[in-house]
């Protein structure tokens, strides 16, 4: 702020100086030039009168010739004075306005405002670098969840769009290059309330630099896990590089999506759980989508195509790859060269024998074209075959029809659907409407995937632990969980975390000191303890400080902290202090549970079945009553 005023003053130094000089000259002139008073005596203006006169003359107010009428000499001097002072005034005002409107000055003004806003933050916040599709989605989701974020983007237009969007919370935003450490520092990288840095720029290089800066400027806090660094990475090398210096979470949208796709083929139920719990909108779909097993055609062997092909091959699905420039991307043997938008290329890839098509190029229009062409091709093939069959039946050409029938057996899945399973990659969120209208089974949106992943990391850090454990379970396990969840969740599934601690669950802690508490008890309904809440404990995360191992393995500090994860604990599982519970249930249950674990009177009812009296007197009477009862029963 200080430097701002100085900068302004420095810029208008010349106009101010000219003003002073012109005023001084004109005032001095009036004092020196002799005038006449009303009796015709020689009269000299004093400095006070001269200053008074020049003040209203220079500002063109003009009260007239005071205190006595002027002589001609004085009038001549006045003419000179008017032109001199008025011109200089106009010049000064012009200079001041042009300085204020100078883009450089405005930028400093904005930067100052931003710094001040960030400095004044008194609640936990996340620093988002890059306000593209992903950043936008994430910032809005966070603001809807009442989590503050600070945004930096190198592109000033995007920052302006943030101001137009008007999110619920006032998000401090600055257009600056996030790869400069001083910019990150101004944006609150070293702020005590900064909970994490999220690097979402489109360049891996810059994300990498942000991660390194965050790591070096916050050494102590990173070690204690107070600061989270999340990076978007689009290549494996960048991912490995980021992981090498302790970036908390690295999200590669292509890798994440390919993994999910593979999961949905291998175990549709597990995928449904995955989607259920990570989808930020929590829309529940009752029936899992089942991508078919068979040959998949992948168009575009870029980062996305490679990830999909690898994951599909890993679970034993055959892939045929179409790539426009094979010399650049090094696809495997048997790759068909071409864009995939033409029917010829698709026919060459034997699209009619395939079960699914993945349009994964980095061009949205091409992706849509690929899917539409492929679907047309399949349709034409089927109508052609039906006509063939009719023709054969007509002329009773048995031999051919038999041959076709056997072929039909082989392609049974295709025939049943009569349709290709299609996945398209949507690179830009502005194309959303077109993609929704296209007949697609899955739409791969890198922005949505990254935002969803980060949001679940921020909101429920245990969720990713749970999901990675769940991925290793069998399909049957997932089916059981789904039936259990869908039995009480109608529209929206919420996942939330509860830590058994004085801060979060004071009521539970009170009873935990005296008694054992099980999962079943904690999930009792606060209005009627015979009922239980519509929720399931998905995971119990227990940190155990193991004293013996600490002495052995001082070098590795992670070893001293032993972590136990209990997947889907049963109703009689005992809770310890410090446990973190991941719970899934409906919205109402979430509120009820948050109420019961923090209100001692409510929890007392849940635990004992008695309604606890509030004040000392009532508590004493209650105790007395209990004593009487005990005496009676003996």
């Amino acid at each position: 702020m200080n430097s701002l005023i100085f900068l302004l003053l420095k810029r208008i130094r010349l106009p101010i100086m000219l003003l002073i000089v012109s005023y001084a000259t004109v005032i001095l002139g009036f004092v020196l030039i002799p005038g006449q008073d009303d009796q015709g005596n020689v009269w000299h203006m004093s400095f006070f009168h001269a200053f008074y006169f020049v003040s209203f003359m220079g500002s063109t107010i003009g009260f007239g010739e005071i205190p006595y009428e002027f002589t001609n000499a004085q009038r001549m001097w006045t003419v000179f004075g008017i032109y001199a002072t008025v011109t200089i005034w106009l010049y000064s005002i012009g200079a001041l306005i042009s300085t204020l409107q100078n883009p450089a000055f405005k930028k400093i003004l904005k930067e100052n405002e931003f710094r001040k806003k960030v400095r004044r933050i008194k609640e936990p916040f996340y620093l988002i670098c890059g306000y593209g599709d992903t950043g936008k989605l994430l910032a809005h989701e966070l603001s809807e969840n009442h989590i503050l974020s600070v945004v930096i983007d190198v592109n000033a237009e995007r920052i302006d769009s943030l101001e137009i969007d008007e999110p619920d919370i006032d998000i401090p935003a600055l257009s600056a290059n996030a790869s400069f450490p001083q910019v990150l520092e101004a944006a609150g990288l070293t702020h005590e309330y900064c909970r994490g840095i999220i690097a979402l720029t489109s360049k891996d290089e810059i994300n990498l630099k942000i991660a390194i800066t965050a790591r070096l400027l916050n050494k102590e806090r990173m070690l204690d896990d107070h600061l989270m660094v999340v990076c978007r990475a689009e290549t494996a090398e960048a991912e490995a590089n980021m992981a090498s210096f302790g970036t908390s979470h690295i999200i590669n949208p292509f890798e994440v999506y390919a993994r999910r796709l593979a999961l949905s083929i291998r175990s549709p139920s597990a995928y449904l759980i995955y989607e259920w719990l990570t989808n930020p909108y929590h829309k529940v779909r009752s029936e899992p989508i089942k991508p078919p097993k068979g040959t998949w055609v992948i168009c575009g062997y870029g980062r996305f195509g490679k990830a999909v092909a690898r994951h599909l091959n890993y679970i034993g699905v055959k892939t045929v790859i179409i790539e426009a420039s094979p010399d650049k991307t090094n696809p495997p043997e048997g790759t068909i060269t071409g864009k995939g938008t033409e029917a010829v290329t698709l026919r060459e890839a034997k699209i009619t024998e395939a079960v699914a098509i993945v349009a994964g190029t980095n061009n949205d229009a091409n992706n849509l074209s690929i899917v539409l062409t492929a679907q047309d091709e399949i349709k034409r093939y089927h109508t052609g075959r039906i006509k063939n069959q009719e023709y054969n039946d007509k002329y009773s050409l048995k031999y051919f029809s038999e041959n076709i029938n056997s072929n039909e057996q082989a392609n049974k899945t295709v025939l049943q659907h009569n349709k290709l399973f299609s996945i398209a990659r949507q690179n830009f969120s502005r194309n959303e409407q077109v993609f929704e209208k296209a007949d697609l089974d899955f739409i791969m949106q890198p922005a949505g995937i990254v935002a969803g992943e980060i949001l679940s990391i921020i909101k429920t850090p245990l969720l990713s632990t749970f999901l990675s454990l769940a991925r290793r379970q069998k399909d049957q396990w997932a089916n059981l969980l789904i039936s259990r969840l869908s039995s009480f969740i109608d529209d929206t599934a919420m996942t939330w975390m509860v830590e058994i601690s004085e801060k979060q669950t004071p009521a539970v802690m009170h009873f935990l000191k005296k008694d054992k508490i099980t999962i079943k008890q904690i999930l009792r309904h606060p209005r009627n303890r015979d009922k239980s809440l519509k929720s399931v404990v998905l995971l119990v995360h227990r940190k155990k400080r193991n004293k013996i191992s600490r002495t052995y393995e001082v070098s590795n500090r992670n070893e001293s902290l032993k972590i136990d994860n209990f997947l889907l604990p049963g109703g009689d599982f005992e809770i310890n202090e410090g446990d973190q519970l991941l719970i899934c249930g409906d919205k109402e249950s979430m509120h009820l549970m948050c109420w019961s674990v923090s209100n001692i009177n409510i929890y007392n009812y849940i635990h004992t079945g008695y309604e606890l009296a509030g004040g000392y007197v009532w508590r004493w009477i209650h105790k007395y009553k209990l004593l009487q009862q005990e005496k009676k029963t003996g």
Binding site: L7, K10, I16, I20, L28, S46
Partner: protein, 127 residues
């Protein structure tokens, strides 16, 4: 040698000398203290202030501060003079004159500090 440095030193020193010129003389004798001198002192002091604006160094800040102090002193002196001459019935009496001159003495000290700082800076830079 550059023009900026010359004008800077010129105005800083000039503010001191002209202030001194007004200050010198018997403290309560209006004949020894001319109003034009006070006017010139104010104008030069203002110009010196503006010239010092925008310097981000520490010594620049102190220089600006001394200049502002001198300005305030001289303004107060001028306002007292104006009130004595035009508002009060008694006019500029020796009592009032002594007040005006002693206030301008304060400005003199401030301007002196300014010059001392200027000399120190010049010596330190040694170019």
């Amino acid at each position: 040698m550059n023009f900026e440095k010359v004008s800077f030193a010129f105005f800083v020193v000039f503010a001191l000398t002209i202030n001194f010129g007004f200050f010198i003389g018997e403290i309560d004798n209006p004949a020894h203290h001319h109003v034009f001198e006070l006017f010139a002192a104010i104008v030069i002091s203002l110009i010196a202030t503006v010239i010092k604006l925008g310097d981000r160094t520490h010594i620049g800040a102190v220089l600006l501060a001394t200049s502002l102090v001198a300005d305030i002193h001289l303004f107060v002196a001028a306002i007292i003079w104006g009130i004595a001459e035009h508002v009060s019935v008694a006019g500029v009496t020796p009592d009032v004159m002594s007040i005006i001159v002693s206030v301008s003495g304060g400005a003199l000290i401030a301007n002196l500090t300014s010059v001392v700082l200027l000399v120190i800076e010049t010596v330190v830079v040694r170019r």
